[in-house]
C-alpha cells in the first residue's frame, strides 16, 4: 500500500501540491482528475518519487520516505512502481521492440516472451514493433510506452494521460487490460480527462484543484457529488465531449 501524508511540493513561490493525504491500495484503480494546471502530473510524479516532496511522508509498503529528502538513490521504488508519462519519451535510438526489451536487460525468459507476444498482439503492434519511434504514430508510441511499463510487472502502475492519442478501440483495450491487472493486485493510478474512463474503472476518484484535493471518494462522486466545484467541472467536461 502507498500512503501519502501531508505532502507539499513547491516550485519557487508556487505551491504545486498543498498538504496532500491519500492512500493507494493494491488491486485498486485511482483516477486523478482536475483542470489543467491543477497539479495532477506533479502529484503523480511526486507519489512516484521522480519529484521529491518538500514536506510530508510517503510509505510504500515497508519503505518510509520522510521529506525533505535529498535523494531516493539506493532505495528507489522503481520498477516496482513505474510511470507511463504523458509525453512518452520512447528512446529514439531503439526500435519499439528495443524500447520494451531494454529494461529487461535485452533478454526475455520464456514467460516474459509469452507476455510480450500477448501484449504486442493485444495492442495490435505486430506490424510496427521493429520500427523506430520516428517511423510510427504518436498512438503507436503510446502503446509501446504502456507495454514497456506492463512488461516490468509493476506493483504500482502510474499512467499520466496515456489515452490522449489513442482511438476509442485502443482506449477500450487499455480499460479492459487495466481491469485485468487490477485483479492481479496491481495498484493503478491514472491521471485522466476522460470522465467515462474514470467512471467505469475507478475504485477511488480524486478531484484536484490548485494543488489541493478538493474532494475524493468512490466513482459515484462523479455522478452525485455534493461538491459544487466538482459538479461544475464534470458538467464542463461533459459539454466539451
Amino acid at each position: 500500500m502507498l500512503q501519502a501524508t501531508n505532502i507539499t511540493k513547491r516550485f519557487g513561490d508556487k505551491i504545486a501540491l498543498d498538504n496532500i493525504n491519500l492512500d493507494i491500495k493494491p488491486g485498486t484503480i485511482t483516477s486523478i482528475i482536475g483542470p489543467s494546471g491543477s497539479g495532477k502530473t506533479t502529484l503523480l510524479r511526486t507519489l512516484g518519487m521522480l519529484e521529491l516532496a518538500d514536506t510530508g511522508t510517503i510509505a510504500l509498503d515497508k519503505e518510509l520516505y520522510q521529506f525533505p529528502l535529498a535523494t531516493v538513490e539506493g532505495r528507489a521504488p522503481w520498477p516496482k512502481l513505474t510511470i507511463v508519462f504523458q509525453q512518452l519519451f520512447i528512446w529514439p535510438h531503439l526500435t519499439l521492440r528495443g524500447n520494451i526489451l531494454l529494461p529487461l536487460g535485452g533478454n526475455m525468459s520464456a514467460d516474459q516472451q509469452k507476455q510480450f507476444n500477448e501484449l504486442v498482439e493485444l495492442f495490435s503492434m505486430e506490424e510496427f514493433i521493429d520500427r523506430y519511434p520516428n517511423e510510427v504514430s504518436l498512438g503507436q508510441r503510446q502503446r509501446t510506452a504502456i507495454i514497456r511499463a506492463l512488461m516490468l510487472n509493476p506493483e504500482y502502475l502510474f499512467l499520466d494521460e496515456v489515452t490522449s492519442s489513442l482511438d476509442v478501440e485502443q482506449t477500450s483495450i487499455i480499460l479492459s487490460h487495466l481491469g485485468d491487472i487490477k485483479k492481479r493486485g496491481v495498484a493503478v493510478v491514472v491521471v485522466t480527462h476522460l470522465l467515462n474512463f474514470a467512471k467505469s474503472v475507478s475504485d477511488q476518484v480524486i478531484f484536484l484543484e490548485h494543488g489541493k484535493i478538493v474532494v475524493s471518494g468512490d466513482r459515484t462522486i462523479l455522478e452525485n457529488s455534493s461538491n459544487e466545484r466538482l459538479r461544475e467541472f464534470t458538467s464542463l467536461i461533459k459539454q466539451a465531449s
Partner: protein
C-alpha cells in the same frame, strides 16, 4: 589534362608526400586535441555551468569574433615578438587551429548535453535502470548519434583550415604545391591535383556526416 595532373603528381611525389605528411600531422594534432579536450570541456561545461560553462562560452564567443587568419598571424608575429621567443610555425599553427577546434567541439558537446531531454532519463529510472545503465544505454548512444555529424563536419572544416598554416611558412601541402607551381608554372594542373586530393579526403567524410545525420539524428522533442 588528367594525364598532366598525374604526371605532375608522379614527378613531384616526394615533395607532395612530404607536404601531405605535414598536413596530416597538423590535422591529427588538431583533431586529437579538439576531440579530447573539447569533449572534456564540453562535458564539464554542462556539469558545472557556472564554474566552467560560462567562462568557456565567453572564450568561445570571443574566439568566434577573431578570424582564424588574424589569430594565426597574431600568435606567429606580435605575440612571439612581445615574448621574445621564436616558435616553430608548425606548432603555432597546431596551437591556433587546436584552440579553434577545442571550442567548436566544446560548444557541440555542451549543447547536446544541456539540451538532452531529462525525461529520457526519467523513463530509464522508472524502468528500474541504474544511473550507469542509463548513461551507457540511453544517454551516451543518443548524444553520440546527435553530435557525430556536426563533429565530423567540423573536423572536415579543420582539415581545410590547415591550409592557412602555409601563410606562416608551414611546409604543408598547399605551400609545397605553391612552391612547385612557382618553379614550373602549371597552375591549372597543380591546383587541380590539390583540389582532387582534398575532394578524395573531404567528400567521403562529408558524405559520412550526411549519412549519419539522416540515419541517426532524431527530433528529440517527440512532436
Amino acid at each position: 589534362m588528367v594525364t598532366a595532373v598525374f604526371t605532375i603528381i608522379s614527378q613531384y611525389r616526394e615533395g607532395l608526400l612530404q607536404g601531405l605528411l605535414v598536413t596530416l600531422a597538423l590535422c591529427l594534432i588538431v583533431w586529437v586535441c579538439g576531440l579530447t579536450i573539447g569533449t572534456l570541456l564540453g562535458s564539464l561545461s554542462a556539469q558545472y555551468p557556472n564554474e566552467v560553462g560560462k567562462p568557456s562560452k565567453a572564450l568561445s564567443f570571443t574566439l568566434s569574433g577573431i578570424p582564424i587568419l588574424v589569430l594565426l598571424f597574431w600568435l606567429h608575429y606580435p605575440l612571439q615578438e612581445m615574448l621574445g621567443v621564436v616558435i616553430n610555425p608548425f606548432f603555432t599553427a597546431a596551437f591556433a587551429l587546436s584552440l579553434v577546434n577545442i571550442f567548436a567541439v566544446t560548444d557541440i558537446v555542451r549543447t547536446a548535453l544541456v539540451e538532452f531531454p531529462s525525461q529520457y532519463i526519467a523513463a530509464g529510472k522508472v524502468s528500474g535502470l541504474s544511473n550507469q545503465e542509463i548513461f551507457k544505454k540511453i544517454q551516451f548512444p543518443i548524444i553520440f548519434r546527435q553530435i557525430i555529424p556536426a563533429i565530423l563536419t567540423t573536423q572536415v572544416n579543420m582539415l581545410q583550415l590547415t591550409l592557412f598554416a602555409s601563410l606562416i611558412s608551414v611546409e604543408e601541402i598547399f605551400r609545397v604545391t605553391q612552391r612547385i607551381n612557382a618553379s614550373i608554372y602549371k597552375p591549372v594542373e597543380i591546383y587541380t591535383a590539390l583540389a582532387i586530393f582534398f575532394l578524395i579526403i573531404c567528400l567521403p567524410l562529408n558524405g559520412l556526416a550526411l549519412y549519419l545525420k539522416r540515419k541517426y539524428t532524431r527530433n528529440l522533442s517527440e512532436k
